[in-house]
Symmetry: C2
Subunit: 184 residues, 2 copies
């Protein structure tokens, strides 16, 4: 663990604890830097924005590999949907709980609409690449990737706010909708 990783971790910890205590909006970047024992400038060298401290890409880039494993002649939307379904199947209880905490903060904060997609750029890019490998046109790939991730973001927020719902079920329902299933 080099110096960079240490401060990176310290900043993340400081941010999450402060967000939990006072809420996202009421927490300033200066306070986060102070608790991490670091200057504010350093904070922005490690995280491009304040919201990046809360949403450090919870989505997994292994989704792209799952897309590549789908049947070649499958429709783009369905391929992405099924890939996401498989990729999210193996998520332990601990990560799930942590994700829920983070997403609840997103929901509680004002002005964080679309924050999930904004911080899923890497995942979207990976998805586009995987679809391109299947011979899908670039525009088509971008449309499908963005649509699925955006829809998924809505479902994730809804799940995080609900109390007794299983993540797998919530995602499954959303993916059914996105894939064109007949959910009325």
């Amino acid at each position: 663990m080099d110096r960079w990783s240490r401060t990176h971790e310290a900043l993340s910890q400081a941010a999450l604890s402060l967000f939990a205590e006072r809420g996202y909006d009421a927490t300033g970047t200066a306070q986060i830097a102070e608790r991490a024992g670091v200057s504010e400038m350093t904070l922005f060298r490690h995280f491009s924005s304040k919201e990046a401290l809360l949403l450090a890409d919870p989505f997994d880039p292994l989704i792209a590999d799952a897309v590549r494993a789908r049947p070649v002649n499958e429709q783009p939307m369905r391929a992405v949907v099924e890939a996401v379904r498989e990729a999210w199947a193996g998520l332990d209880a601990e990560s799930t709980a942590a994700l829920r905490v983070r997403l609840r903060m997103v929901a509680a904060a004002s002005g964080l609409g679309g924050a999930i997609e904004r911080n899923s750029e890497e995942t979207i890019t990976a998805l586009i690449g995987a679809l391109a490998d299947r011979g899908v046109a670039t525009v088509t790939a971008r449309v499908a990737a963005k649509a699925v991730i955006s829809g998924l973001g809505v479902a994730l927020l809804d799940w995080a706010l609900s109390e007794n719902d299983c993540l797998g079920d919530a995602l499954g329902r959303a993916l059914d909708v996105l894939g064109g299933a007949d959910n009325a």
Copy 2:
């Protein structure tokens, strides 16, 4: 045309002309207010943000009505997709050209990713309402509406940057993908 509408129009005009001259990023809200002959405070009373000056809801709320006109047992995604297709069919050449200009500014500016969806909240809300009237679950409705609008935003940006492409064709291809067609 009352006073409110006049300043509203003046602000919109001032903003668009300045964006065209110096670009979005290089234009400050103070300059816009000055050219409109108005204080900066008034600007924010008329437009909730700087980007709202560029993206004053180009999407039509009549999309919701088109959803209501779709067959009741149609899948949510397909219903929304087809409704959008119909709603955008009647768009004159002038509006199309103006839309292209605006979207090119969006593409040129930095930090305006997701700006389209952010300013389509009303359309999304309307879509959700229309889907709810069909008996679709609220989560399902939100997922479908958000996914379609997000995917559509990507297609719109791509169309705006391309030179010789017909808007109807571009939208049609995107909607096919979103609806689950077999576009490889």
